[in-house]
Amino acid sequence: AQSVTQLDSHVSVSEGTPVLLRCNYSSSYSPSLFWYVQHPNKGLQLLLKYTSAATLVKGINGFEAEFKKSETSFHLTKPSAHMSDAAEYFCVVTYNQGGKLIFGQGTELSVKP
């Protein structure tokens, strides 16, 4: 079955330190991969997406992710966390080039001052 696994349900970092949110996907065939962010009481917002072009994808707010086929991973990183980054992050996969998205369970990111 098509699936995506987020390896940490909660990550806590200090402001100004790097962020790493981990994601692995099942490897049926070439996926499109996304990271979405959900701030409290707000809608899901697309951070970045991978669609088989460059394997290192840059997104909004300084986030980036690297597609590694050999590891079936698509980890999200940011060099320096900001307080405003505190939110729920979802790794998402689709195999249909359109159509339904399959979401991971989410990783809650906390940023300490």
């Binding site: 359109g98 998205l101 989410g106």
Partner: protein
């Protein structure tokens, strides 16, 4: 421009009642999606429309759930004989075409449904 809007933002109902949730997609978007997000979980796909027709309804949990998009724009998700387990946030998304690697889904703020 205006994003995806959903009404109501909150809905409280009693077990066994009928509810309708509405989604207004971004103007010009032909594809529309419904997802359900239970507490502490990621959103789960329910149904996907291309224009007026349901292209994939494999995520609807049972026949109490039904969705329509009669004119290819606004969509209504209908739930009959609600159960406490239906309590969740119902999310709507729209995208320009619903196909192709550049298509992106844009989400609304959701409707929080509580079944007492």
């Amino acid at each position: 421009g205006a994003g995806v809007s959903q009404t109501p933002s909150n809905k409280v109902t009693e077990k066994g009642k009928y509810v309708e949730l509405r989604c207004d997609p971004i103007s010009g978007h032909t594809a529309l999606y419904w997802y359900r997000q239970s507490l502490g979980q990621g959103p789960e796909f329910l149904i996907y429309f291309q224009g007026t027709g349901a292209a994939d309804d494999s995520g609807l949990p049972n026949d109490r759930f039904f969705a329509v998009r009669p004119e290819g724009s606004v969509s209504t998700l209908k739930i009959q004989r609600t159960e406490r387990g239906d309590s969740a946030v119902y999310l709507c998304a729209s995208s320009l075409t619903g196909t192709g690697i550049t298509d992106t889904q844009y989400f609304g703020p959701g409707t929080r449904l509580t079944v007492l």
